[in-house]
């Protein structure tokens, strides 16, 4: 740091203790260890990509682009996985459509409506929701919720029988295990994360903007649409994407209530299957190309969720910066 070279001779005079000393060995070691632990994150991500792709390679090689066909028949050595990709997309979409308005509503409730004292209990409820394990949702889903909602499906189906578009969407119910049921359960599960992220985003809206809206005589709704929304829409989009990623990857709850039927159908009340669900359900008996196919579905899932998460984090990160400008 000094541009001056040292004068000859050690430090004389004064109480002992020379000023010269190597940097303590422990200090350098500690830094290296800490760095290594940080790098572990990157290393693990890369290893995940490589090891799973390698395990799935026989599937990719055998099927090639046929992995994107709807032709899944392990007995006949057919592993076209379109049905599962479809199922994942549909259930995740249902989950997001249902969870986002609710989550944003709760986030707004917490930040704009509720006095501080009442905010804590509401947050506790959301935390409780988050801590229920996936498998418990699935257990409740298949043993309690599905049978109950099967009746509702029947009523709706008979109600829309004959009406063009709705009939295709909501007809043909079987038991309660279906795309729609899985979507609902997933919606419950992603609500906490979308809510808490939305809250964080809304909290970065500058108070002066809100006060400015009120000062012009705006109602709370008008303030929200005028001052909060423009600032937060980017961040909330990011939160929604994160919820989407979560819904796509949720395995056990989906595995238990989706119905495990590898079909592509527009009927939301019909049973279906999704990528994580089929992996979980069929891995036990799988070997060879079958197993490679299941792992390959995992690779696809990894790729989709990583991309979604990266985009989401970039959006949330950027809008958080802008919000505080």
């Amino acid at each position: 740091m000094s541009t001056l070279t040292q004068q000859a001779g050690p430090a004389t005079a004064g109480p002992a203790h020379p000023l010269r000393q190597r940097r303590p060995l422990g200090d350098r070691t500690f830094q290296i260890v800490a760095l290594a632990c940080g790098l572990l994150v990157l290393v693990i991500l890369v290893l995940i990509a490589f090891s799973t792709t390698q395990q799935a390679s026989s599937w990719f090689k055998t099927e090639g682009w046929a992995i994107f066909t709807n032709d899944w028949n392990p007995a006949a050595n057919k592993f076209g996985a379109l049905a599962f990709i479809y199922g994942t997309a549909i259930t995740a979409a249902i989950a997001v459509i249902m969870a986002v308005p609710v989550s944003v509503g709760i986030a707004l409730l917490l930040t704009e409506v509720v006095p501080y004292r009442w905010a804590r209990p509401i947050v506790y409820v959301i935390d409780l929701l988050a801590v229920v394990p996936s498998v418990v949702w699935g257990l409740w889903g298949i043993l309690v919720f599905a049978p109950w909602i099967a009746n509702i499906y029947k009523s709706i189906a008979s109600g829309v029988a004959g009406i063009p578009v709705l009939d295709n969407l909501f007809g043909a119910p079987t038991s309660g295990a279906s795309f729609f049921t899985a979507g609902i359960i997933l919606a419950f599960m992603i609500t906490p994360i979308v809510t808490s992220l939305s809250r964080e985003v809304i909290a970065t809206v500058p108070a002066i903007d809100k006060e400015g809206a009120y000062a012009l005589g705006a109602t709370r709704l008008e303030m929200i649409t005028g001052a909060v929304w423009p600032h937060s829409k980017g961040g909330i989009t990011g939160a929604v994407l994160l919820g989407l990623g979560r819904a796509m990857g949720e395995t056990i709850a989906a595995a238990l209530v989706i119905g495990s039927s590898a079909t592509i159908t527009s009927h939301l009340f019909a049973p279906g299957d999704s990528m994580p669900a089929v992996i979980a359900n069929q891995f036990g008996e799988a070997s060879g190309v079958f197993r490679a196919a299941l792992i390959g579905l995992g690779v696809l899932l990894f790729a989709f969720t990583i991309i979604i998460n990266i985009i989401a984090r970039l959006i949330v990160g950027r809008s958080a910066e802008q919000g505080t400008a």
Partner: protein, 300 residues
């Protein structure tokens, strides 16, 4: 040795903010009258030191000598770099990214910024008390024992002795001797600052640097700390930054007055040492008109 004024004239970018300078005088009087003589050997020799944060020059061309067992005060308006210079004396500026020191800073003859010099060793010899008391969230005992412990002292008996001695020196022992186990955060402002002083004295430094130690305290606590400083100066060398001129007159033997030079082009401010000398002289018979303007209150 160039004086600050000569340096200013040589650098076309720096302008004066106050009156144009009178015919220059040296930073230190050549022939000192009896009562102004230095009492001991020099502890710090600062020569032509400029301090940069990346490309920005925060302080320019400071030269002064700090003498042993004296209290030296740095005074001046805010932004004049006095804290920056203080932190250079124990290499705390190393912690700021992009900070750079040019010139020669010598501690008892050895270069403080030499190649092999360890900042850790420096800071064990040259302690610092901060503006806002910052006790660790540990017990009072552990706060004071912290320094000796990291220096390798683990003997309970010795530690007890060191803690008691340091708290005595900091004039805090009587108030806390029955609650050494209580958290350091439970003390009042003045007590907490004395705890921080005790903590600094516990490692038996050679020098104690103080960065506006009383600015967060009430007048009574301030008085206690000033008394403390005068008490311990026979064992330590003290350099204190203060924005309170009366405090400088009350406690210090020597005073350095810093001021600010504005760079018109880049609209930045650079600190400069205007005058350095015995406190009596600085306040009653300053050589530089800027010093006079400041100490008589004409300049904020």
């Amino acid at each position: 040795m160039e004086t600050p004024e000569q340096n200013v004239a040589a650098d076309p970018q720096l302008t004066e903010t106050a009156n144009p300078p009178l015919p220059k005088t040296a930073a230190e009087p050549q022939a000192q009258p009896e009562q102004y003589a230095a009492s001991g050997e020099s502890v710090f020799d600062v020569e032509n030191v400029s301090i940069y944060y990346s490309a920005f020059r925060a302080v320019t061309d400071v030269s002064l000598t700090v003498h042993e067992n004296e209290i030296t005060a740095f005074i001046g308006p805010s932004g004049c770099g006095k804290t920056t210079v203080l932190r250079t004396l124990n290499r705390m500026n190393d912690l700021v990214a992009g900070a750079r020191v040019e010139g020669d800073v010598r501690y008892r003859g050895a270069s403080l910024y030499g190649k092999d010099v360890s900042p850790i060793a420096v800071r064990r010899r040259i302690g610092m008390v901060f503006q806002k008391p910052n006790p660790f969230p540990k017990s009072i005992y552990d706060n004071v024992a912290y320094g000796p412990r990291i220096n390798g002292e683990h003997n309970k008996g010795k530690l007890n002795e060191i803690v008691e001695r340091s708290l005595h020196q900091a004039a805090l022992w009587d108030e806390v001797k029955d609650r050494l186990g209580k958290s350091g955060l439970s003390l009042s402002g003045g007590q907490a600052q004395r705890l921080c002083i005790a903590r600094t004295l516990a490692v038996e430094p050679d020098v104690v640097l103080m960065d506006e130690p009383c600015s967060a305290l009430d007048p009574i606590a301030t008085g206690a700390i000033e008394d403390l400083m005068k008490e311990i100066k026979s064992r330590y060398t003290i350099v204190i930054v203060t924005h309170n001129m009366q405090q400088a007159t009350r406690v210090s033997d020597r005073t350095a007055f810093f001021s600010v030079l504005r760079n018109e082009k880049s609209d930045t401010r650079t600190g400069v040492l205007v005058e350095y000398g015995p406190t009596e002289k600085i306040f009653h018979d300053p050589s530089d008109p800027r010093t006079e303007a400041y100490v008589t209150g004409q300049m904020g």
